[in-house]
């Protein structure tokens, strides 16, 4: 019986800029148990909801995460709008969808780069981030911010994308998709990538379901769960279908994200083609009184904002459950059996975003 040792992994680790701490219990080089702990960067953003007016809290909600910022704002706004019974104009819904999908694009390209970096494939990492840069440029041109868009507000959106810019985006999509497919092919077909990822840390469909995995982690295990299917914002009109893989290993989790990049490009294309004319926002009168569980599909999975208003201009309570928190139990299930050298890749495969987990 080999001796067991405990190796601490994180919260500061060269491969993972996210402050998660894992105690890895090893037998020789093999992981047999994992004890995760978080709590290094709690920022108290939930509490802030009682100090900021409900319309201003959008800016705070947006800064919960530096990657899915737009979707946090969207989730919060949809929650408040539901409590107050506000119907958002169609054009605003489409614009929200376009910006959401742009965020998903840049988030997935960022993750693909980090994942390639985790595998030691530096060239691919640089190529992915180069592509991500062009998405960020579009976001900056249309919203004014590269990662913090600041365009979502309660009752609609704050900015329009005019026709010329939409056409320009539409024209740019084809060459962009071609470039994405070039690097996507490397992720999906390259032998070195396959040797490294296939069969690594399999999560079965039942386990994924029982442990409450969300987002690409669940879909890679064959759980066809994607909140966009419920048709919030404009997804209902765009004929959305979730990307599902069945293998449940790291390769499948990577494949889901590569294919979601293509799906996002497709959604943006259809949204630009179908976007209706009309107003951007409705006037917000009154204060929220009531409670609601608002849910939105982020790049990492489903985020939940629980909001409760008591009729004043400050909400009484916000509770935010980000997708990474839901994906930590599956991660703990995945790691035993992996080699120590594979731990960074496996941890990255759930796309951890610890900063937003701790809010």
């Amino acid at each position: 019986m080999p001796e067991r040792i405990v190796v601490p992994f994180g919260p500061q680790h060269p491969v993972l800029p996210e402050p998660i701490h894992l105690d890895l219990v090893l037998e020789d080089e093999k992981v047999v148990d994992v004890i995760p702990s978080i709590g290094y960067i709690h920022r108290g953003l939930e509490q802030l909801v009682q100090k900021r007016e409900f319309t201003e809290y959008v800016y705070v909600a947006e800064r919960i995460c530096g990657i899915c910022s737009f979707m946090h704002a969207l989730c919060y706004c949809q929650g408040v709008e539901h409590i107050m019974g506000i119907e958002v104009p169609d054009r605003a819904k489409y614009l929200r969808t376009i910006w959401s999908e742009c965020s998903r694009l840049h988030s997935h390209l960022l993750w693909l780069g980090l994942f390639a970096d985790g595998m030691g494939f530096e060239n691919l990492f640089m190529r992915s981030w180069q592509l991500r840069e062009s998405v960020l440029d579009v976001l900056e041109d249309t919203t004014g911010g590269r990662v913090i868009q600041g365009t979502c507000k309660v009752g609609g959106v704050r900015r329009d994308i005019e026709k010329g810019k939409l056409d320009e985006m539409h024209r740019a999509l084809d060459p962009f998709e071609e470039k994405c497919r070039e690097i996507g092919d490397v992720f999906l077909n390259d032998d070195t990538v396959k040797y490294r990822l296939q069969g690594l840390s399999v999560l079965s469909k039942d386990e994924a379901y029982a442990l409450g995995a969300v987002g690409p982690t669940a879909r890679a295990s064959g759980v066809p769960m994607d909140h966009r299917e419920t048709g919030y914002a404009a997804y209902g009109d765009l004929g959305f279908k979730p990307v599902v893989e069945t293998a449940g290993d790291c390769y499948a989790r990577c494949a889901v994200r590569v294919k979601e990049v293509y799906a996002s490009i497709d959604l943006i294309r259809r949204a630009i083609e179908q976007i209706p004319e009309g107003p951007l926002d409705v006037k917000v009168k009154g204060t929220p009184d009531g409670e609601y569980f608002s849910r939105v599909e982020q790049p990492r999975g489903e985020v939940i904002h629980y909001l409760r208003g008591d009729g004043t201009k400050h909400l009484a309570r916000a509770r935010i459950r980000t997708p990474t928190l839901a994906n930590i139990p599956p991660l703990v299930k995945m790691l035993p059996g992996a080699q120590l050298a594979d731990v960074p890749v496996v941890v990255l495969s759930i796309d951890p975003c610890i900063s937003c987990t701790e809010r």
Binding site: R63, G150, E182, D190
Partner: protein
């Protein structure tokens, strides 16, 4: 064998120029909407205090009596809410990024120079709500 999947991209990478730029020697790419920093015009501000009440980070401080308008660049997140809220157009969002602030609580201070035009033979109009 598909280990050469990447070759074409690698070759194009080698022949193409760099994808990054030497900021700050070369200015950052901006667009017309870029939120760089907030600029204040002391000659038009009427001390209404809307900006300081809207700011989600409490970055703006206004002292009506002393006619002082202050912005703490360390707190400001360049969200643009004050710019949208200012009814007199005293605030604008500039595209350039400021150099990093290194001192805490070193607010940028302006003295408001707006002078209310004289209104003949009527009692002066009420100022807006307090700061």
């Amino acid at each position: 064998m598909s280990i050469f999947q990447m070759t074409r991209t690698v070759i194009r990478n080698l022949t193409g120029g760099p994808a990054t730029r030497q900021y700050p020697a070369v200015p950052a790419r901006t667009s017309a909407l870029t939120r760089g920093h907030v600029a204040f015009d002391p000659s038009t501000c009427r001390s209404c205090g809307l900006c300081s009440r809207r700011c989600p980070c409490v970055a703006i401080r206004l002292d009506k009596e002393a006619k002082v308008w202050e912005i703490d660049r360390m707190r400001c997140i360049a969200c643009g809410d004050c710019v949208e809220g200012c009814p007199f157009g005293s605030l604008t969002m500039e595209q350039t990024y400021l150099p990093p602030v290194v001192e805490q609580r070193a607010a940028e201070r302006y003295t408001i120079t707006y002078v209310k035009p004289e209104k003949p033979a009527k009692k002066p109009a009420e100022e807006g709500a307090g700061a």
